[in-house]
Symmetry: none
Subunit: 229 residues, 4 copies
């Protein structure tokens, strides 16, 4: 146990050092030498913990994804209607941009540079292992929202939420990546920009018929197989 805790601590040191450098300099600009210097070990030691530089990137990615999936789930827990849940999710992302810009930036780099050369299976298996259950969950959310009357009736359970999430993630990552540059160009602080994005999208999802919702709600509960996000 003392052993495993030492190993775990060292692993974390490497991951922390690498994560910080990736944020600061960009994933591909960081060399193994940089990482080991920052972590205070020799290069050959790093290879006792990770088989690759990619392995390090991958481990950080897995950490980030697991962590943010857990926090997102937590944030949505207290919400009542589907719209509230979506709102909570998007606000969670707004907070992420404000508080963890560097993490968001890391994910942006990953999407743009690394995702292509790693097999889809690997990505999918990571997601499975984290248990986001994204696909089914998003569908249920739209179905629930239509049922409880909080969402427009003409949304497509197999499509809309995925499109929204993709857009919001894209918006978030672009802001984080461009940082000051986008603020200069658009003359607005990035979190205002992001929250406005969220507002417009929620306006687009929200039901405009305030009366009919409550009744439909009862029709569908059996169909919903809830997945956790």
């Amino acid at each position: 146990m003392a052993y495993s805790s030492h190993r775990e601590r060292q692993r974390r040191r490497i991951l922390d050092a690498a994560g910080r450098l990736f944020d600061e300099c960009g994933i591909d600009r960081v060399t193994v030498a940089d990482i080991v210097n920052a972590a205070g070990i020799r290069a050959s030691t790093l290879y006792e913990y990770f088989s690759n530089k990619d392995d390090v990137v991958w481990a950080i990615l897995a950490d980030i994804m697991a962590d943010s999936a857990a926090r997102a789930r937590e944030r949505m827990e207290t919400a009542k209607t589907a719209l509230d849940k979506i709102t909570a999710l998007l606000e969670f992302m707004a907070d992420g941009l404000t508080n963890d810009a560097s993490t968001v930036r890391f994910m942006a780099q990953f999407d743009a540079m690394y995702a292509r050369e790693w097999s889809p299976d690997r990505l999918l298996s990571l997601e499975a292992q984290i248990g986001t259950g994204g696909f089914a969950f998003f569908g249920d959310l739209i179905r629930d929202g239509i049922a409880d009357g909080s969402l427009r009736a003409d949304l497509d359970p197999d499509l809309t939420m995925h499109a929204v999430i993709n857009a919001v993630i894209g918006a978030q990552r672009r802001l984080a990546s461009l940082g000051k540059r986008v603020e200069l160009e658009y003359r607005q602080p990035m979190d205002r920009l992001f929250r406005e994005t969220v507002r417009v999208i929620l306006l687009g999802l929200r039901s405009t018929e305030p009366s009919t919702m409550k009744r439909r709600k009862r029709e569908q509960p059996a169909k919903r197989r809830r997945r956790s996000l």
Copy 2:
């Protein structure tokens, strides 16, 4: 003049070769050797035309931005209301994703990896030189749309359109970057995903009061200072 035209032709050859390679392989995976091979010249010749590799990237970026700004402007020309204009702009981007995915991918990489190390000024000066006039133009669009009744009245001219554009660009680039991966995860073709994004956003922008719009339109023409995109 024969001289300068030769120079121009050579420059184009380099740029074309580099552009194609950047699209195919990703900016950072393309070496100077790759570019000069594709262009049929020697590496040392490249340095007669560009002072380094970044310079090449930059020139291609400028090309792409100028080109797509011009085409976007064109697409918006025939539109009447501001909402039509925005619709045209977003559809233009949807077409870009379908037809020029590799170009979009290039821009995605640029945002994620390169934008950070080039000074904001350089980016801004590039934009000025292309004449998108982004900032003011977007503001006018919202103002016009509120005036002509096609857009919701509670949008912010200094914010909404910038937020929307950022989100749509972000969505587009993420789809282009992830390609097959996102289709596998979301089980939808990427252009359906993108068009649904556009639909939701337009729903969010669109005025919900169908009567009042026409009258207000007359109040604001003086305020509009039209900029070209």
Copy 3:
């Protein structure tokens, strides 16, 4: 004694694992890490049993040499004339090529790569310790064969058998090393090639005067100092 038997067992595990790997992958492609993985121990444990990697190679070499010397001796035991003995020896080598190609390959590698950096003394002392007694034994064989009339009279006891053995070993190892490659080039299975080599050499050694032999046989027994192979 329980202690020492444990040590012996561990030693064997290492040697077995290493031997298998050397055969499969080639001596220099096998790392200490490979060996200890295959043996189910840690690298540092290996160094409790052997002082370095060469030591392991050396020990395996000694095993192989002792083993094959013993088996060769056995095979020659029942033979009557010297020619029969030589025939038995060469057939033993043909069988070795067929059944233990990987061992032969190991020896080929050893000859080509390692033999040079180990002192001749070390090699000689290994041979002494195994008791092949090569030099004298080969001389006696020729002498016996001339005496018993099974071999040509013009062979040189101090030379011929050594030359033959060297050639046969060389042929055997080359076939084992090149494997498929030599079969492709020569369009013959390697054991046919080897057996033809043996046939030609035996034809070259065999006495062509079938009558006189038996008488001479009696003249020389005193001179022979038999060594075991």
Copy 4:
């Protein structure tokens, strides 16, 4: 032409340096750093001439094979009977062992270590390009020899010569590889050992029916230099 001669000269410098080191230290013990030091260039320059370390090995191999194929052909030219041709070929190899031991050693290492990991096709294509025409040539040699009465009638044109060549090459390379070691063990200089091998093999190939040959035999008596060893 001045250009190409410079390039050619540099190439040779690298090849010569590498060849010498390979002989002295063994192919796999020689690093790229060693080669470039010996050649008086930087490592990156080497990669302008060869794409790999293997490429260097390969080029040396091709040189050696082409050179020795040419010289072997030359040596066999003046021979009349097939037996004379074979004798000339094997004597050529004996000379090779005496005069170019290091080259032979190089080939021995190649066979033992490298041949396996290079595709048979590559080897075959090299041979094709050099034009040894090994397979067919060896068959014809035996056929001719049976026809002209210089070789035993029971040899197999598709097999015997290939077996003989393999054995002689194997013998030659083993002697070259082991060098002093084999001389110590067998107490004979290596070229005596090799020439005895050749003698025994030729005895095994030679026709024993003195009738048909004698007539032709008279044509060449001056040429045959019998060796006692």
